[in-house]
C-alpha cells in the first residue's frame, strides 16, 4: 500500500510526543502546539491564520451551497488515497453536485488517544495537497481527543461552502423522461481497493481508489450550457444506490445497459472473486449525470476531456413516470431490476 511521499519532517517533536495524548485536545499548551505546528502550518491561509473562533469572509453573489460529511474509513491509508484526501474530495464533490464552485472547508478531527502523531501529520499533509489541488481553503476547524478504545483511530468531518454561479435547478425533481444517464468513469474502484486491504479478504492488485475531485468537470459542463437535470456523486452503495434514490424522488423508471457501464478488468475480477456486484460497490471520484438528451454527446465530450473522466460513458436513459424503478439490461439482452443495496456488501461463498 502506498504511503504518501512527504516533504520535510514532522514539525511536532516526535521524540517527545510520538502519539496523540488526551492533553492534545485539552485546550492547553499541548493542543496549542498541535494546532500551530500541524493544522495551522499545513493549512495556512489568511482566514485561518487570523485564528478567530469563526472565519469571516464575503461571498460572491449567487446562491450558496453547503454540505457536510464525516469520514470514518478503515484503513486510514489505502491504495490511491487516505481518509484525509477523501475528506476533502468528498465534500468538494458534494458541493459540485449542486453545480457550486467550492470555496471554503471546515474540518473537525476526533482523534483517538494513542494515534501516532506521524499518522496524523501524514493525513493533514494529504488534506493540504488535496485542498490546494481543488482550489479550496480550510478556514476553520476543531480538535478533540477521545479516550483510547473510544475512537477507532481517527474520524474527520468536513463541511463545505460553495457558490452556485448558474440558474439551473440541479436536483432529482428536475429529471424528465427522455433524459440521458451518464457516468464519469469506470466503477467500483474505491470499494474494491478497500476490500483488497481488508483483513480476512486481502488480495494483491493494482486497484487504487478513484478518490478525486469532480468539480472542474461539473463547472465545465455548466459553462458549456449543458442542460443538467441532476448530478449525484457515487459513494457507498455505488451506482445502484444513486439511481434508486433519484428514481424514487423523481418518480421515474430508469433503464441502463450493463454492456455500456465501464468497469476495469481487475475490478471486475475482484468482484467476481468475492461475489460482489460492481454496480453496488463504493466509488469516490465518480458522478452520475442526468442531462437533456440533446446535450448528451456534447456533455460526454466535455467529461472525457477532464482528468479522471476519460472513460465517461452514456449508460442509459430515463424512461417514463412510473413507480420508481431501475432496470438493467444484462450482457445477454434480458432485463432485471437493479435494487437498492441492503446493508453492508458481504462477500459470497455461493
Amino acid at each position: 500500500m502506498k504511503i504518501l511521499e512527504l516533504n520535510g519532517a514532522c514539525p511536532v517533536p516526535l521524540a517527545q510526543y510520538p502519539q496523540v495524548l488526551m492533553a492534545h485536545g485539552g485546550g492547553g499548551t499541548l493542543m496549542h502546539q498541535l494546532v500551530e505546528n500541524i493544522f495551522g502550518k499545513e493549512f495556512s491561509n489568511p482566514l485561518l491564520d487570523a485564528r478567530h473562533d469563526s472565519a469571516q469572509f464575503f461571498v460572491p453573489p449567487g446562491r450558496l451551497a453547503m454540505t457536510t460529511d464525516s469520514y470514518v474509513v478503515r484503513p486510514i491509508f489505502f491504495p490511491g488515497g487516505d481518509i484525509g484526501s477523501m475528506s476533502v474530495h468528498g465534500t468538494v464533490n458534494d458541493l459540485a453536485m449542486s453545480g457550486a464552485r467550492p470555496l471554503y472547508l471546515s474540518c473537525a478531527f476526533i482523534i483517538e488517544e494513542g494515534l501516532p502523531m506521524e499518522t496524523l501529520w501524514r493525513v493533514v499533509c494529504s488534506m493540504r495537497d488535496a485542498a490546494k489541488k481543488c482550489g479550496v481553503q480550510i478556514v476553520t476547524g476543531d480538535t478533540k481527543v477521545v479516550d483510547k478504545g473510544k475512537g477507532d483511530g481517527l474520524f474527520i468531518n468536513t463541511t463545505g461552502i460553495g457558490v452556485m454561479e448558474h440558474d439551473l435547478e440541479i436536483s432529482p425533481k428536475s429529471v424528465l423522461p427522455g433524459d440521458t444517464v451518464l457516468v464519469s468513469g469506470d466503477l467500483g474502484r474505491h470499494g474494491m481497493a478497500i476490500m483488497a486491504v481488508r483483513e480476512g479478504l486481502q488480495f494483491e492488485s493494482t486497484i487504487e481508489s478513484d478518490s478525486a475531485p469532480v468539480h472542474k468537470m461539473v463547472l465545465a459542463l455548466i459553462k458549456a450550457g449543458v442542460e443538467i437535470r441532476c448530478l449525484r456523486d457515487l459513494t457507498r452503495g455505488g451506482l445502484a444506490s444513486a439511481l434508486n434514490e433519484i428514481a424514487e424522488v423523481a418518480g421515474v423508471k430508469i433503464a441502463i445497459d450493463e454492456k455500456l457501464i465501464p468497469v476495469r478488468e481487475d475490478v471486475h475480477a475482484a468482484c467476481e472473486m468475492l461475489g460482489l456486484d460492481p454496480l453496488q460497490v463504493a466509488n469516490e471520484g465518480r458522478l452520475v449525470a442526468f442531462v437533456a438528451a440533446k446535450d448528451a454527446v456534447r456533455a460526454l465530450a466535455i467529461m472525457r476531456r477532464h482528468t479522471g473522466g476519460e472513460r465517461s460513458a452514456s449508460i442509459g436513459r430515463v424512461m417514463e413516470y412510473s413507480l420508481p424503478l431501475v432496470t438493467v439490461r444484462s450482457a445477454i439482452g434480458a432485463s432485471r431490476i437493479l435494487d437498492m443495496p441492503s446493508g453492508e456488501q458481504l462477500p459470497r461463498i455461493c
Partner: protein, 369 residues
Amino acid sequence: MKYLDEYRDGELAQKLAVEIHRFTTRPWNIMEVCGGQTHAIVKFGIDELLPKHITLIHGPGCPVCVTPLEVIDKALELAAMPGVIFTSFGDMLRVPGSTTDLLAVKAKGGDVRIVYSPLDAVKLAEQNPAKDVVFLGVGFETTAPATAMAVFQAAQKRLKNFSMLISHVLVPPAIEALMSSPDCRVQAFLAAGHVCAVMGYEEYPPLAAKYHVPIVVTGFEPLDILQGILMCVLQLESGRAEVENQYTRAVRREGNRPAQQLVREVFHVVPRKWRGVGEIPDSGLGLNEDYAAFDAEIKFGLADHHVDEPADCLSGLVLQGQIKPHECPAFGGKCKPERPLGATMVSSEGACAAYYRYRRHNLVETNIK
C-alpha cells in the same frame, strides 16, 4: 477474465436460445440445483430467453438457505462467548436465527470475522493462542475439501484452540428426497457443476434411471446454463433419461480423487436437517472420531434443541419447487431481504431474494426474434 467472460457472450446466448426454442414442443419443468446457477439465471435474465413452455424451478442448492435454525442459533451462542473469535463466510452473517443474527451479535461486541477460506481461520487460531477460534463450516460438497483440509491441518499442528461448527450437506440425497415426493414436478435436473467437480457424477446414473429424469452437469455462466438446458430439452423431447456433462472444462466423471480422499479422512456421512425441508437421511457430513476434538458442538457442550420455523415462512415449499416465491402470502410484505422470515430471502442465492431483487415488478421484455 479468461474462461469466464467468453461464456457471457450475448450473441451466442441468443443462438443457444434459438436452438432451445427450435426443439421444445411441449412444457417441461427443469430444476437447477445450485444456488449459484439460480443467481446467474436471475441476474442475466436467462429464463427470459427461454420458450414459455419451459419452467425453471429453483432448487435447494443454497447451503446458506438450508442451514437449519438450530445451527444458526448455536453459531450465535458461540459468537457471543467472550474469548471466542467466530469466523464465517460472508453470506452467513445476515442469516436470521430464532431471535438475532451474526451481524447483530457483532454489533453487541462479539468478535465475528469474515474469512475467505477456512485456512484463514486456522491461521487466526495460530496467531491468537489465548482465544478459541471457531469456524462455521457451511456448504455443499464443493466446500467440504476446504473445511476438511482446515481440520486436517489443525490436527497436524496440534492446535487446541481451533474448532468447527459443521453444517455440510450433500446434493444427491436432496435430489432423491425431492424426486421421491409425490408432489414433485421436476422432469430434469441441471446438476451443480462445482459440486460435481469435486464428487464427479458417478452417483447420478442410478437416480436418472430410478426416476427417469435427465441429469446434466452444468456450469454457472449464461452459455453453460443455456447449453445445459438445451441438453435437457433434447433428452426430454426424445424420451431419454441419461446423465450428461455440459461442464466438461471443469468436471471429470470421477471428480477430484485427492479431495474426496481427504473429505473421507475427516468426515463421514450423517443424517442432516435441511431448513425448510426437514431431515434427510445420509445427507450431511460430520467429523470422524479422530477429529472429534475439533467439533465445536462437543467442545463447547452445545445442547441440541429444536426450533420451529415462523409459521408464515413457506421457504420449504419454495425449496422443493412447489411454489414460486411470489405465490407466498408473506412475499414482499412481511418478508423482504431487510426483514427476512426465512433463509431463502436472506441469501442472494435464495429463490425468494433473487426473485424479490430482480423480478419484483415483472416489467421485463424478451428479445427472441
